[in-house]
């Protein structure tokens, strides 16, 4: 690494923090605007970048699609033939405009491109294709053309990816901070078998099966040990074939397959990070999970990969959504180093049934910030082929309502430095990752062949048709989705009802992180591994800490929980009674003030009365009708599906100049 890339201690000059991104000595909030340079005429780039700046963005983000730059193997086009492929010129223009850049070279990119950014010569190479249990390829049916999915076990995939990245290297090096504008790079994209994440869909290619056998050998060491567990009589690991679906009496074998698939995702990401690491760019590497907070994906395990700084999870909420965002952001706040949505829906792909308007988008963004989101990549902020509903059109003109919403949002967020305020929930809810794994293992041959694409839906088969009937000898949660557990759902419902703030995570969370909380609510089913059980026991023994555990049989007891029993962990700062109003408190670094987020989750206007424990000075920051005042009560009306932010000073003397 060149001397210009590190400080005196050898650390990279750009790094993620718990609040955003540190560039040199400056910590910035990580809010990026996605723009696909190759999808706009190069003559519009500057105007588009200026529009992005006009919305107070400081960071632009783009994919660098392989299929665009290496259409034919070995023939690269970085602008020599098509001006809109001139990546070097684009990044130079970002620098000229004073914008930082985040780049995402894939190899998987999706981006609503027919082959998800892979060149055809990669996808149609039989050596690289994933296989289903019946020996044919695995197809992803995208709306413009079905295509074969590459195998994560194919060494050729990594060799050819590295060749492409090597071709990118001079441009990436030239433009990496501090010499240039690039401040971060993403390793692959939503690595999880092209959304076909059910366990028995793939990959049964010879290379993948070899990796599976290797996994079993490392786990069991000898065939005899495996035979004892499986009740089989293999002489060699080479004889073992992967399961094609759940069969009674083969649970251990099926669980091993599910676990192997988790390892395969981790291994893929490790290899992709390794390729980027070998480029020795002086910038951090991150990853975005698609939507999974369950097998085969884990942000905590991703973040343990050497060289991977942060793993976020993407989000494309439906209009007015609260449940998905609340669950996902709380999970990230509880699990990731930086609660980050690298792709936060702005506009939508053309073949989706819904398209959010600016106020619906604002609600989604603020609601996510309310529950602890720190960083967001707004995907997309510039319209392009197969995407609509953005603040900037492909020709550089703007859509005023979307544009104004983003400009106001960013200005408020930056003026108030909201990224430096932090929620401090005292309660952590730990879900059972292993229960999700058990449910996955017990599936039959669900293929989820079609996506949620509204033009080609039709022959789909609901995946839960293939869920096995419960084996009565097993304690299996009643909810069918891997990430849902009846006990956890009821517990969270109660905490929400009591207006107690909490985070979510699972067994892969580090001990140090768990110890930040005072109350742990964990689901247990008797099948958890010993380390996890030990961890829960240790927590329980700590002074001032409490552990509540439960499972299927504890559902009724959760339903009878009373708020008084949780008074110890309740926020003492303020009281809100309206059930349609949710709130969270985000403390400033000096603890003398906080931001109060109030969300009206109902669709009609609601009265809001906040009763503080003591006199407070309160100033509306956003959607509070410009009100400000001092006292023990804050009363106002909040429009339906709106989030309001207030700055509250706990020391009333500090609020000089505030009109009452």
């Amino acid at each position: 690494m060149s001397s210009g890339t590190c400080n005196a201690h050898g650390n990279k000059m750009v790094k993620y923090t718990a609040n955003g991104i540190q560039i040199g000595n400056m910590e910035l909030p990580l809010y990026s605007a996605t723009f696909h340079y190759w999808r706009s005429e190069a003559c519009h780039w500057e105007q588009i970048l200026e529009q992005i700046k006009g919305m107070h963005f400081k960071i632009v983000e783009t994919y660098i699609p392989w299929s665009v730059h290496e259409e034919t193997e070995g023939c690269f086009d970085f602008g020599s033939k098509a001006p809109n492929k001139d990546l070097d010129a684009f990044l130079s223009l970002c620098e000229k405009c004073g914008l930082f850049a985040i780049v995402r070279p894939g190899p998987h990119i999706n981006a609503e491109m027919t082959n998800f950014g892979y060149p055809e010569w990669i996808l149609y190479d039989e050596e690289i294709q994933a296989k289903n249990p019946w020996g044919t390829t695995v197809i992803y049916p995208y709306v413009t053309r079905q295509f074969p999915i590459p195998s994560y076990a194919s060494e050729q995939l990594y060799v050819k990816t590295e060749r492409y990245f090597k071709a990118l290297e001079p441009i990436l090096k030239k433009h990496s901070y501090p010499d240039g504008c690039i401040i971060a790079i993403q390793a692959d994209n939503e690595t999880c078998n092209f959304f076909r994440d059910k366990p028995y869909i793939m990959d049964y290619s010879s290379q993948s099966v070899a990796a599976y056998r290797q996994f079993l050998q490392e786990k069991y060491k000898t065939a005899e040990t495996l035979n004892t567990e499986y009740n089989t009589c293999y002489h060699d690991f080479k004889e073992i074939v992967p399961p094609e679906g759940y069969l009674n009496g083969e649970l251990t074998r099926c669980l091993d397959w599910v676990e192997f698939k988790e390892e395969q995702i981790l291994d893929t990401l490790t290899k992709m990070v390794g390729i980027l690491n070998r480029l020795a760019l002086p910038i951090p590497i991150f990853h975005n999970c698609a939507y999974q907070t369950y097998t085969p994906v884990s942000v905590q395990r991703d973040e343990k990969i050497k060289g991977l700084a942060v793993a976020g999870i993407d989000a494309y909420p439906e209009p007015g959504d609260t449940s998905m965002l609340k669950e996902r952001v709380r999970y990230m706040a509880g699990s990731s180093r930086l609660p980050y949505i690298p792709e936060f829906g702005s506009g939508s792909w053309f073949d989706r049934l819904t398209l959010l308007n600016p106020s619906e988008e604002e609600f989604a963004y603020l609601y996510a910030f309310m529950y602890g989101l720190k960083a967001a990549g707004y995907y997309m902020t510039v319209e392009r082929d197969r995407w609509s509903g953005c603040p900037v059109r492909n020709n550089g003109s703007i859509r005023k309502e979307y544009y104004t919403m983003f400009a106001n949002l960013n200005q408020t967020a930056q003026t108030e430095a909201i990224f430096q305020y932090t929620r401090k929930p005292r309660i952590l809810v730990l879900r059972s990752y292993e229960m999700g794994r058990l449910k996955a293992a017990m599936e039959d041959i669900s293929q989820n062949t079609l996506s949620s694409n509204c033009f080609i839906a039709g022959p789909d088969i609901p995946p839960n048709l293939f869920l096995s009937e419960n084996d009565t000898s097993l304690s299996v949660d009643t909810k069918e989705a891997y990430y849902e557990e009846a006990y956890i759902i009821e517990a969270c419902k109660k905490l929400d009802e009591f207006k107690l703030d909490y985070n979510l995570s699972d067994c892969y969370l580090d001990w140090e992180q768990i110890c930040r909380y005072d109350l742990l609510i964990a689901s247990v089913y008797g099948q958890e591994n010993r380390n996890y059980q030990e961890l829960l026991n240790q927590f329980q023994k700590l002074s001032g800490k409490k552990l509540i555990t439960g499972g299927i049989e504890a559902l009724n007891s959760v339903k009878s929980w009373k708020s008084e029993a949780f008074a110890e962990w309740a926020d003492k700062e303020c009281i809100l009674l309206n059930p349609n109003i949710e709130y969270t408190i985000h403390w400033s670094p000096n603890q003398k003030s906080y931001l109060l987020y109030l969300a009206n989750i109902d669709s009609v206007k609601q009265p809001v009365t906040v009763t503080f424990c003591e006199n407070r000075i309160f100033i509306s920051v956003l959607n509070g009708n410009g009100l400000e005042g001092k006292g023990k009560q804050l009363c106002f009306s909040l429009a339906g599906k709106t989030v309001s932010i207030w700055k509250i000073h706990t020391d009333c003397k500090e609020g000089k100049g505030v009109s009452l």
């Binding site: 027919t114 149609y124 289903n132 249990p133 019946w134 020996g135 044919t136 390829t137 695995v138 197809i139 049916p141 995208y142 709306v143 413009t144 053309r145 079905q146 295509f147 074969p148 679906g245 069969l247 009674n248 506009g347 053309f350 049934l353 819904t354 398209l355 308007n357 319209e383 392009r384 082929d385 197969r386 995407w387 609509s388 509903g389 059109r393 492909n394 003109s397 859509r399 979307y402 039959d444 041959i445 293929q447 062949t449 509204c454 033009f455 080609i456 839906a457 039709g458 022959p459 088969i461 609901p462 995946p463 839960n464 048709l465 293939f466 869920l467 096995s468 009937e469 069918e480």
Partner: protein, 255 residues
């Protein structure tokens, strides 16, 4: 029919947000029962949302006619065995499918389900077309053409799109957003479409939402094509541009 290089651009958000309403009736099969009999012989039945249903006895005991007589709300029943589903999953992912268009692929998926031993499909006799592409692919032009679809709701623009076809393929989807401030003015947009696509035959289809819904619903439930939506070649208003042919007497049925 759908080009793999399909361009989709300039979708006005206020127009495109209504795409769900426009295509609502274009998925003919709304109420579907899925029945799976696993290797142990256990039968499970869910509807299209994945919710469990209790129709197993009727499915097993009644003839198709009697079943749909008793359950007219059900559009289709799809019964699977492990062998059938395996064969189906294998066939729909064979290399031979790479080369066909996505709409042909979806149609093929329906067909393979129908033809596979171990899969039994029962379709309500009221359903004329099982797959949206069965119908649509037969209605669209086989020559180079452009269609302006314009749907109003109480005389206000509700939805529009411009579809461009070249060499039997749909190559472009766009809206009148491309005409900026004129995007909601029908006459202006008609002129501009004709100007922009001069070498292409122009068709238009303009109606109220209620009529659109009725007609698209009829596509799938009528025994004859009498209720088909017929597009006007050159919009029936040939003064919109000089390039439009005035030979409209034998205009093909487009929709």
């Amino acid at each position: 029919m759908i080009s793999q290089n399909l361009t989709v651009e300039y979708l006005h958000p206020d127009i495109w947000k209504n795409i769900g309403v426009i295509i609502e009736n274009m998925h003919p099969l709304k109420q579907i029962l899925y029945v799976y009999t696993n290797r142990q012989g256990t039968r499970k039945c869910v509807d299209q949302t994945g919710s469990p249903c209790r129709f197993e006895t009727d499915i097993a005991e009644l003839s198709e006619d009697l079943f749909f007589f008793r359950h007219p709300e059900i559009d289709e029943v799809r019964c699977y065995t492990p062998e059938g589903i395996q064969y189906y999953n294998k066939k729909i992912q064979e290399p031979g499918v790479y080369g066909i268009s996505i709409d042909s692929y979806v149609t093929l998926m329906y067909q393979i389900q129908k033809d596979t031993p171990g899969i039994h499909i029962m379709t309500n006799p009221k359903i004329k077309y099982r797959c949206v592409w069965d119908k649509v692919s037969k209605m669209l032009p086989t020559h180079n053409a452009v269609l302006l679809l314009w749907i109003e709701h109480h005389k206000e623009l509700f939805f529009n799109c411009i579809l461009q076809f070249q060499n039997r393929e749909l190559v472009k989807i766009t809206t009148t957003d491309r005409y900026d401030m004129f995007y909601n003015q029908f006459e202006e947009c008609r002129k501009k479409v004709c100007q922009e696509f001069p070498e292409t035959e122009y068709y238009e289809l303009k109606m109220e939402l209620a009529e659109w819904k009725k007609r698209t619903k009829d596509w799938y439930y009528c025994e004859t094509d009498k209720s088909s939506v017929t597009a006007d070649k050159a919009g029936g208003s040939h003064d919109c541009c000089n390039d439009c042919s005035d030979n409209d007497t034998d205009a093909p049925i487009l929709l």
